[in-house]
């Protein structure tokens, strides 16, 4: 009796963590393979893919769980990237490139990990300060409000010469986002995101996504849950930004702006915005597609035939592929479900209860 209850408790735990394990294990295996065998160019691709995974998961924590699309999340990334960059550039360097920097920051040079955590904290405080009015809006209101927020952040970053260097590129950031570093951060982010979505607050938020009025009628304070998710999600976006700066070694306001932001939203929707697995799948698939197309579009030669690259072809093909995916699978590649690993325990001959499906598929009212 005792053993069976222990078993079922073990099973319950396994069901609880299976989806996130199912994401972390393949990622780690892929990284191990790349670390052991792949040439540097492939390693770089893996690093950028994991950067995208972090950004898309950050976006998912708010928009995926709440069903409220935000277009401004990349703004959190931009702030995070600049904060982390400013904290880690060596003081001597800062005297040269940013002579007007306030002295409190000018003499600081933190280790990368500390700087990342400070960056997350700063952006979380920023999100906490401005977020509440935004999450109370309905319909497309939050979408437009976050877009406006992104514009404001962008204008400030591009013009505040004393601190950000203005429109010119901020250089001299230590390049230390290596494959093991970003893998570790990715695992941390996935665990945080998963812990949040299975927490009480996360489940309330998902309930409000499925049916706003029903959730309110059972006493869920939807705005409050959205507010919590926004803060966590902003912190993850900031981490992504910090890692991004430390991967490129330089920052400019234009790189962390609408184009990257839209790409993030697109990745999430392509993968399936209603589940963490969907966010990760979308980031990996779209990154891989982009990279494959880039290599192909860079021009290649078949025998004596030289095919030269034409600007724009890569993007056109990518856009067509994405449209096909969206038309064929409007709920995304994963259909909004989490990876279900509970069959693994059934292989050992135990018939456990079916795993509950955390991301219920929405029943849509067709409008045609």
């Amino acid at each position: 009796m005792a053993e069976s209850s222990l078993r079922s408790r073990g099973f319950a735990l396994w069901v609880r963590v299976a989806p996130v394990v199912g994401l972390i294990v393949p990622i780690c295996l892929g990284v191990l393979l790349a670390q052991a065998f792949a040439p540097p160019s492939i390693k770089r691709v893996v690093v950028t893919t994991l950067l995208n995974v972090i950004l898309v998961v950050g976006f998912y924590v708010f928009s995926g769980n709440s069903g409220v699309i935000s277009f401004g999340h990349i703004g959190f990334t931009a702030i995070g990237a600049y904060v982390v960059g400013l904290l880690t550039i060596p003081p001597l360097m800062k005297q040269v490139i940013l002579p007007d920097l306030p002295s409190a920051v000018a003499h600081l040079s933190l280790p990368s990990i500390t700087a990342m955590l400070v960056g997350c904290l700063v952006v979380a405080v920023f999100a906490a300060a401005i977020g509440y009015p935004i999450v109370r809006l309905k319909g497309v209101g939050p979408g437009i409000a976050t877009l406006a927020m992104l514009e404001i952040i962008h204008v400030v970053l591009a013009n505040w010469k004393a601190v950000t260097g203005g429109d010119s590129t901020l250089v001299g950031i230590r390049i230390d986002t290596t494959l093991p570093v970003i893998t570790a951060w990715t695992v941390v982010v996935l665990i945080c995101a998963y812990a949040y979505q299975t927490s009480r607050s996360g489940r309330r938020l998902k309930a409000s996504r499925e049916d706003f009025e029903a959730a309110r009628s059972v006493g869920i304070q939807v705005s409050l849950e959205r507010y919590k998710a926004l803060i966590l999600s902003a912190a993850i976006m900031a981490l992504g930004g910090g890692l991004y700066g430390h991967y490129l070694g330089s920052l400019s306001p234009r790189t962390l702006y609408l184009a990257l932001g839209f790409l993030g939203v697109l990745m999430a929707v392509v993968g399936g915005i209603n589940s963490l697995s969907g966010a990760v799948t979308g980031a990996v698939v779209v990154s891989a597609l982009t990279e494959a197309l880039r290599r192909f579009a860079d021009g290649f030669s078949i025998g004596a035939l030289e095919v030269r690259s034409v600007a724009g072809v890569q993007e056109v093909v990518l856009a067509i592929l994405l449209l096909v995916i969206l038309v064929r699978m409007p709920a995304g590649l994963t259909g909004g479900r989490e990876i279900n690993l509970s069959f693994l325990s059934r292989i050992r001959g135990r018939r456990g209860p079916r795993a509950p499906d955390p991301g219920t598929v929405e029943q849509r009212v067709e409008t045609t």
Binding site: I69, G141, I144, A145, L147, A148, V327, P330, T368
Partner: protein
């Protein structure tokens, strides 16, 4: 006094431009619940159409460009959005990003990404002087185009059967269908109109700047989205009002901000937008149809 009047004229002209862009976005949103991000690309393609046909007399150039953009808009709906009509609004919006990337880069392939100059009819650069008030032809053009378009739209919505069907579809798409409205015709018509309005905006923007580039659609479509939202979604009058308001806010910021802060102008404009949204979450003129019944 004169300067205030001058600012007022500028604000009305800019407001007309934003209102045209906003109505174009709003009309498609009304029938399809699609916030069409590719509208910016319609504007950009309109500008390139003006460049393509620029060897002809300007009246014919403009007419051809209008038809061309309407055609592109209808084709876009036919090829991409028709398959997504039952998708939810976030999927629709994201597919409009994809369409926007597609159209933008198709233009990059055809014309390269460098900005190009557009030949303009000579009268566009002139300005009239009335009692010390400077009236650039560009501003007059904006006002005339806006008045013509809005008048045509009013006639269309009030006097034609298709207009009536479109209003019905905007109110309740399924009910309209049950009563015999053809969904494909109404949606195609909405896209055609939004294409024509987009091209009117292209005429105004190229008349102001004289250049075209593949990314020129981004700023107007952002402002149009903002205008549609603060005006009240699903309400065309609201969209127009929102467009005017954004124009007025922009000019007011230009007038009021000290020189040191003028590079932050857009930031203040968007701050004002957020403020409006916070105090009027449903927009200034909310439509009843958008609020879902429980």
């Amino acid at each position: 006094m004169m300067t205030i009047l001058q600012y007022f004229v500028d604000a009305v002209a800019l407001g007309c431009l934003f209102a045209l862009a906003a109505i174009g976005v709003g009309i498609v949103f009304g029938v399809m619940r699609l916030a069409n991000f590719a509208h910016g690309e319609f504007i950009m393609i309109g500008a390139y159409a003006l460049l393509m046909f620029s060897s002809l007399p300007w009246e014919i150039t403009w007419l051809l460009a209008l038809c061309f953009v309407a055609l592109v808009a209808v084709l876009t709906e036919r090829v991409a959005f028709r398959w997504l009509r039952s998708a939810d609004s976030s999927t629709l919006l994201v597919s409009s990003f994809a369409v926007s990337i597609l159209l933008q880069n198709a233009v990059v392939i055809a014309f390269r990404s460098r900005p190009r100059a557009v030949p303009l009819p000579a009268f566009v650069g002139e300005s009239l002087d009335i009692l010390g008030l400077r009236l650039p032809v560009v501003s007059l053009l904006a006002i005339v185009l806006a008045v013509v378009c809005v008048a045509a739209l009013v006639v269309f919505f009030k006097r034609t059967s298709l207009g009536l069907q479109m209003r019905a579809a905007a109110e309740d798409f399924r009910m309209a269908q049950l009563l015999g409205t053809r969904a494909n015709r109404v949606v195609a018509a909405a896209f055609a109109i939004s294409g024509i309005l987009a091209c009117a905006v292209s005429i105004l923007i190229t008349a102001r700047s004289g250049t075209v580039s593949p990314t020129m659609g981004l700023t107007p479509v952002l402002f149009a989205f903002v205008a549609v939202t603060i005006g009240g979604l699903g309400n065309l009058v609201g969209s127009a009002v929102g467009g005017f308001l954004v124009g007025f806010i922009t000019i007011a910021m230009q007038a009021v901000l000290p020189p040191g802060l003028s590079s932050y102008m857009d930031a203040f404009t968007f701050l004002a937008v957020i403020a409006i949204l916070i105090f009027r979450p449903q927009g200034l003129l909310p439509s009843i149809a958008v609020e879902e019944r429980v």
